[in-house]
């Protein structure tokens, strides 16, 4: 078990290092941030002074080594635009992202799992077909389309709910819904497939033949087995919610880290974007690690094979 986890951990560290290199190089090759910083133009002298100030005139390997050196000391640099420390920027704005993302995920789990399970049990019925059709739609439509649609309906036409910021509990409703809808759909569709797979297993037939009630078979034999592969999906969906927050925060003007990231991409704000990519990658890697761990607990065969 220890060896298994050590291997996974080592792989995670290697992945993070590769992400760091890719983020660093991609940004450096995409150009300088000065056109975004001064969209109305900048003199050659002023641009040169800025290049020297931010040490963008150093050879690439020197820039990378300098960056690694400061990161190793826990310093991720400062924004080229606002001059805030990058760590402080993200720390100050992580709470809204976590709150909206966490609520969306909870909502998706509480709706998606029962919806998928019931659809599998009621397979072939009209209700199941409608539920899956809606799930397909929710899965296919991007976050920003759902977001704009909800804003137009609940904000512009019906004037029922606020559509920007997070000043009150009611402000959370639309962004959480927007983020949750595709996740509900994904979980429900996966849960249904996993349930159908579990139903067709011989041990389920055996349980029914022994005379156990359908309810008991469904909860103890089908649902429990279907939940194991769901762990993998949940890991992916958490990553999906993290990604979705980028769009949702832009559409609903939420003061979270997703919005920082969008701005940093538009502006080519190197330090902010490098940290953002690294942090998002770290979240995905961490989730994968946790899922791996949970999987080994839920299914010992994984540990043996790993």
């Amino acid at each position: 078990m220890l060896q298994f986890m050590a291997y996974r951990l080592l792989r995670a560290v290697f992945t993070m290092f590769v992400v760091l290199i890719i983020a660093f190089l991609t940004l450096r090759f995409s150009g300088t941030p000065f056109d975004a910083m001064f969209p109305e133009g900048l003199t050659v002298e002023a641009e040169q002074a800025l290049i020297e100030h931010w040490q963008l005139d150093l050879p690439l390997h020197r820039q990378f080594l300098n960056y690694l050196g400061t990161v190793a000391q826990g310093d991720f640099g400062q924004s080229l635009f606002t001059r805030e420390r990058v760590w402080d920027m993200y720390a100050a704005r992580i709470a809204p992202t976590l709150a909206v993302g966490g609520l969306a995920l909870l909502l998706a789990i509480f709706i998606g799992i029962p919806l998928g399970a019931l659809s599998a049990l009621a397979r072939g019925s009209a209700a199941e077909r409608v539920a899956m059709w809606v799930a397909f739609l929710g899965y296919a439509v991007p976050h920003f389309v759902i977001g704009i649609g909800l804003i137009l309906l609940f904000g512009y036409h019906w004037r029922m709910l606020p559509t920007t910021g997070l000043d009150s509990v009611r402000h959370y409703i639309l962004p959480v819904l927007t983020l949750a809808i595709p996740t509900v759909a994904a979980i429900a569709r996966f849960m249904r497939a996993a349930m159908i797979d579990a139903i067709s297993q011989p041990h389920v037939t055996a349980a029914l033949a022994k005379g156990l009630s359908r309810r008991k078979v469904a909860t103890d034999h089908v649902l429990r087995n279907a939940t194991v592969p769901l762990l993998t999906l949940l890991g992916l969906e958490i990553a999906g919610v993290v990604n979705g927050s980028i769009f949702v925060e832009a559409v609903f003007s939420l003061p979270g880290v997703g919005r920082i990231l969008v701005g940093a991409v538009q502006d080519r704000d190197f330090p902010v974007l490098q940290f953002g990519v690294l942090a998002y990658a770290a979240i995905v890697v961490l989730i994968s690690l946790v899922i791996d761990l949970l999987y080994t607990l839920a299914d010992p065969r994984v540990r043996v094979e790993g």
């Binding site: 995409s30 150009g31 300088t32 056109d35 975004a36 001064f38 969209p39 109305e40 133009g41 900048l42 003199t43 050659v44 002298e45 002023a46 002074a49 800025l50 100030h53 400062q78 924004s79 635009f81 606002t82 001059r83 805030e84 100050a92 704009i148 804003i151 137009l152 904000g155 512009y156 019906w158 004037r159 029922m160 709910l161 606020p162 559509t163 920007t164 910021g165 009150s168 009611r170 832009a250 559409v251 609903f252 003007s253 003061p255 919005r259 701005g263 538009q266």
Partner: protein, 506 residues
Amino acid sequence: MKRLALSTALAALLVVPATAQELRVALGTHVAGLDAQQETGNNGAPILYLIYDTLIERDPYAVPLEFRPALATSWTQVAPTVWELSLREGVQFHDGTVMDAEDVAFSLNRVFRNEAPEFASAWGRWFYNFKEVEVTGPLTVRIHTHREEPLFETLMSETSAGITSRRHYEALGFDAARQAPVGTGPYRVTQFTPRNRAVLEPFEGHWGDPAPLQRIDFQLVSEVASRVTGVVNNEFDLITNIPPDQTSALQVPGVETLGVTWPMFHVWIIRMTDGPTQDARVRKALRLCTDREALVQGLWGGLGKVPLAHQFEEYGEPLYMPDLALVRYDPAEARALLAEAGYRGEPIIAQFTQSYYLYGDLAAQVIQSQWAECGINLQLQQIEQYDYDVLHIRAWSNPMYYPDPMGAMDTHWSKSSWTYTRNLWRPTHPDWDATYDTARFGTDVMQRRDAYRKLLELAEEESGWLLQYQPHELYAMRAGIGFEIPPTLRPYTLPLRAGQIRMPGN
């Protein structure tokens, strides 16, 4: 139907309205810092005007310009390049300290001396002729210029000449101080998240008329649809940067709009130093082959304005010349000029970054088809970063920063402008430099006006610019809120000082 109306009305009540004298403003772009000298972009204009005072103040609504005392109570030109100013006594900064001559010297010298890249933009645009502020007493200063400055009052009343506290910057350092601005204006900043939110509240110690609003909350709402919904849904009292195609979406009870055709040109810079556009006849042909009326009608629904020359009505008499009509549309003459220049369809490359200028990418496609009919091969490139070794054309705007011909000319086309140092803009006419000099530094206003007329006539023959149109935008606000666009202040300034805004119920 009644039930629907009732439920809609009840639902509307659920959205919390602002308090009586609070103004919630949704901006399309937000500013990264609040240093008066560093932030020169449009995104800072609505906020900086409210928190900083200048030594001399413009009447925002007087055309032609009128000046009045602000942080300086008097100013005298004691020598051609020296002005002496007496400062107002007892003026408090937002941190409670009292302004003195050292603060004035600190605020302005960092720009005048052009020593740091942070202030290069303000220096090149407004203050390149200013040498230094000399402290001559606790409340007196002398401002030295390199040459005699006919625009002294005009430039010293720019928001970019706003005064801040030396001690504040020394205590916090530049990076922190620009996030926690300290001015002497009627509003102080109580909350600021860069490029996201700024909350302003009245500054009780303000030396002038008190602020009319109890709270102003500037929030970034980058999506147009979200801003429109925000004002319709009563989440915001005022929204900015709304394109004219949203007019119908804003025609709802309780919402009013204010359209403004800005004193600003959307322009294309045409490279004068290389490629096919090096030939003045080709550049003139590009201008003659551009049907601006079609652009204004097609893209702006007729609400933009077709320019007749590089000037704005806001200059007032005598500097604005209503008879000047230099911009023409004449494809036949364009074709003749191209033939004379020996142009054979060589590619003319125009580069564009992300959609910074409203309808800019659409305008480019229209112009491409217009030019094709004249035989001009315009190639449009969407790029991440301008390549000044490759491009012949790039989009730009020429806002009128102050109501004077130089307010849009000198700030963009002087030899200290980036267009010159980038080797794009190089006027070659033998009369250009002398004429420009008179238009910029002439001490007689009529002499300056005549020189400017000649400058524009020369420019029409050879210049590296193409004026497209004056853009039109909307403000939308809750019914009962009212203000007038101040013609003497730069575009996007929000007039929310005493006597400038009317709120519902007063």
